[in-house]
């Protein structure tokens, strides 16, 4: 094995209490960080804003981040700071849960199979009449998501827009009006709610639906206060969810350390997808109070191959969390570009951009070169196979139509993609 000259070996990483912090936790608990010569402390943070601030100011060396955070920060939506990533923590892992009342109104319109159970994926079509009714009554439906540049925000907007519901805009090019909460001209109101408060806020009726990661959808089922209707796996099969983000300054000062961290994370991701037993062990570790802290059963419900929708309607969903399969940990440029297109679509980035801008931004923020170096070292040490990694890719996934509305996404043609939506700024 190669002994990297680590610049900084005592590190502190931040995370938010969601199950997809797993690779970071497993890399610590299984000693993968120790094998690389690193001494890592993993500390829960209060919320996404605080986490981002502490990575920017250096209190945290790196963190579990929403895939949109490095992008939003570099672009300058919110506080501007150069954040980069070399490792995608996972794909999928979110769900959209609606309140019992809304589900009762939706269910009759949802197509059912021969067994009487709703056919999945459930589109927002059944929700549209309820949204329109509320809007006419002057009381727009309120929904929750996790952070303005979160995958959850873009996913629930995608889901709503795919059925003709306008989720609201951050910018109106006609009037040049900027709306920080993103409600402009919307049929519904999407606002930020902290994940731990989502079940109680849903129960209180302040919001009628939310999009969040686990364990908060399964918690809603366990406590019988809501029904998950779809997962982001259904909205976009194998979509990028969280990344391991570091500040560009830190990455430039500590390149060998960053490489070592990436090596440890790759090993952790590989371990997580290696077997069902590993997933169960991971769920047990995550249920500790200093990690995610939810009961083991709730975490295992979504991490061990299944997902529960209505109470008792547990369906097999082995890809609800994907940590390593399908090259989920590789930081593809096309993943970064998708978020940029959605930021433009909803007006968080008020100007329309040319193709070149997207490609250049992606090259600044996503660093597959670091990932590939780390992967090669692991192959040389016998800890991974060459076939585990997409060596030789140009960083763009093949065009895909695996979206809930069947729309085709080609990362090489971002402007065409932005213009392909009926609801969205062009």
């Amino acid at each position: 094995m190669e002994f990297l000259d680590i610049e900084k070996d005592t590190l502190k990483f931040g995370f938010i209490k969601l199950t997809d912090c797993a690779p970071i936790v497993i890399a610590k608990e299984k000693g993968y960080f120790d094998d690389e010569g690193l001494n890592v402390n993993v500390e829960a943070q209060a919320n996404w804003k605080e986490l981002l601030n502490r990575v920017i100011n250096g209190d945290l060396d790196g963190a579990h981040m929403l895939a949109g955070q490095p992008i939003g920060a570099t672009v300058g939506f919110g506080s501007q700071a150069d954040i980069v990533t070399a490792y995608s923590l996972d794909y999928n892992g979110n769900g959209i849960t609606v309140s019992n009342d809304i589900w009762a109104k939706m269910k009759p319109d949802v197509p059912k199979g021969s067994d009487g159970k709703p056919i999945h994926p459930i589109k927002a079509d059944a929700l549209k009449p309820i949204v329109d009714e509320a809007k006419t009554a002057g009381n727009k439906l309120k929904m929750g998501m996790v952070f303005p540049v979160s995958t959850h925000n873009y996913e629930i907007r995608y889901w709503l827009a795919a059925s003709g519901i306008n989720p609201g805009f951050y910018f109106d090019p006609a009037t040049k009006q900027v709306d920080v909460p993103g409600f402009l001209n919307g049929d519904v109101e999407l606002s930020v709610t902290p994940p731990p408060q989502m079940p109680s806020v849903l129960e209180a009726g302040t919001i009628c639906a939310y999009c969040v990661g686990e364990p908060w959808n399964q918690q809603a089922v366990f406590k019988k206060i809501g029904v998950p209707v779809t997962t982001n796996y259904d909205i976009w099969k194998n979509n990028p969810e969280k990344v391991f983000g570091v500040s560009k300054e830190w990455a430039e000062k500590n390149p060998n350390t960053w490489l070592a961290v990436t090596k440890a994370l790759i090993r952790a991701g590989k371990w997580l997808d290696a077997s069902l037993d590993n997933r169960k062990e991971a769920a047990k570790i995550l249920s500790q109070p200093n990690y995610v802290g939810a009961p083991y059963e709730v975490i295992a419900n979504s991490m061990t191959g299944t997902f529960e929708f209505e109470v008792g309607d547990k369906r097999p969903m082995p890809d609800f969390n994907v940590f390593f399969r399908y090259n989920a940990s590789y930081p593809f440029y096309s993943d970064c570009i998708w978020f940029l297109t959605q930021m433009v679509r909803w007006g968080q980035i008020p100007e329309q951009k040319a193709d070149d801008w997207y490609h250049e931004m992606a090259k600044n923020i996503y660093r597959p070169d670091v990932y590939e170096r780390a992967a090669k070292m692991l192959v040389a040490e016998g800890k991974a196979e060459t076939s585990d990694f997409p060596f030789g890719t140009d960083g763009y996934r093949a065009p895909s139509t695996d979206f809930i509305d069947g729309n085709s996404y080609d990362g090489r043609q971002p402007v065409d993609y932005v213009n392909s939506f009926s609801i969205g700024l062009k």
Partner: protein
């Protein structure tokens, strides 16, 4: 034994060393206990000295039974709430569930300590392995590789286990933070208060600012203090206890808790008997001697009253500040448990509430002792 001398009957020179009769003065002991803030024990001290025994027994019974009764009533009310106050998504844990959560917290802390042992054990195994590899590298003449391995070995040996911060660690860090915040607050408030008290001009200048900033909530100060600590403090090593977040919390504590001390000091200094100040003028005392010998001693009672209020405010503010700054204190514990969202987590929050209250009580008592030591009149509490 008969003694022919008129000296104390217990002294027989040459045979026994001089002994004084031990006289137990219950009044003295009781007063000392009162002064130390241990007033609960003064009837017991009097009882030992057989000073009005029936009155003492009555006092002890009252002082013990009444609070215990109130405590039992609260416990019953809690049990009732646990059964009634519940929604689908949340409930209040019962006293029994809270007790179980307490035992779990202790078990978790113990498990973390054993993890530390395991860490060093696997570290030593790893280092032993590396040593072998280094020898092999030297043997085969690969000096650069041997050097890089040896560099890694020395780094590994320097490692200090970074474990999960347990509840008990967090108590320690909370106390450290309030000590820092309170110290800075006192160092700002007392001199400023003396200045305001001595000079009506300074008082007129500062008074609007004081009134403006006094009511501001810690949650509002936090983002501003965060900018200061990020700018002013260099990034400490990750394993150090002096993290920036600690100073952010301490800064917020300072900004919220300096006002009672400041105002009380100003009032205390302004209320000094004019005669004392005239003596200072007559003796042509320098400003330092004037403050040290005359101003401070006469305004000490009010200063300490202010300090006592300040530490109470500071402790309350600290919990809120920790939640925002992520300082590893009790506030962070509460927020982390809240994010866990389990009933067991709510039970742990209740335990944190009890500890926060107990520590706040203890801090107040300590300040009370100091306050009594410098005051001449009897205090009512």
């Amino acid at each position: 034994m008969n003694s022919t001398t008129a000296s104390s009957p217990t002294t027989v020179e040459g045979l026994h060393p001089a002994k004084k009769r031990f006289t137990y003065n219950p009044n003295q002991v009781a007063h000392t206990l009162d002064k130390l803030g241990l007033g609960y024990f003064s009837p017991i001290a009097r009882l030992i000295g057989r000073d009005e025994p029936s009155k003492q027994v009555k006092a002890i019974t009252q002082n013990t039974l009444l609070p215990v009764l109130a405590f039992i009533i609260v416990l019953l009310a809690w049990q009732y709430c646990a059964g009634t106050v519940k929604t689908d998504s949340q409930k209040i844990p019962s006293p029994a569930e809270t007790w179980v959560a307490w035992k779990d917290m202790l078990a978790f802390s113990a498990a973390e300590k054993s993890k530390e042992k395991d860490y060093y054990q696997s570290l030593n195994e790893r280092v032993a392995n590396y040593k072998t590899m280094a020898f092999q590298a030297r043997d085969s003449g690969n000096l650069s590789r041997a050097e890089s391995i040896e560099k890694r070995i020395s780094k590994e040996n320097a490692k200090v286990y970074q474990g999960t911060t347990t509840f008990f660690d967090q108590i320690g860090i909370s106390i450290l933070t309030i000590a820092v915040g309170f110290l800075i607050a006192t160092l700002i408030a007392v001199p400023l208060g003396i200045l305001c008290g001595l000079s009506p001009l300074v008082n007129t200048a500062l008074n609007p600012l004081i009134q403006l900033f006094k009511p501001v909530s810690p949650l509002a100060w936090f983002p501003i203090v965060f900018v200061f600590t990020t700018w002013g403090i260099d990034q400490p090593p990750a394993a150090s206890i002096w993290q920036r977040a600690l100073f952010t919390s301490a800064g917020v504590v300072t900004l919220c808790s300096l006002w009672p001390t400041l105002v009380n000091t100003a009032v205390g200094v302004a209320a000094i008997d004019k005669d004392h100040l005239n003596v200072a003028k007559a003796l042509k005392l320098g400003w330092f001697k004037r403050i040290w010998k005359i101003v401070l001693p006469s305004s000490l009672p009010l200063i300490f009253t202010g300090l006592r209020v300040s530490i109470g405010v500071g402790w309350m503010v600290l919990v809120a500040a920790d939640m925002m700054s992520q300082n590893q204190g009790l506030g962070k514990f509460v927020w982390d448990m809240y994010q866990n969202g389990d009933t067991a987590s709510t039970a742990q929050i209740i335990i944190a509430v009890l500890f926060i209250g107990a520590i706040g009580f203890m801090l107040d008592r300590i300040m009370l002792v100091f306050q009594r030591l410098v005051t001449y009149e009897e205090q009512s509490i």
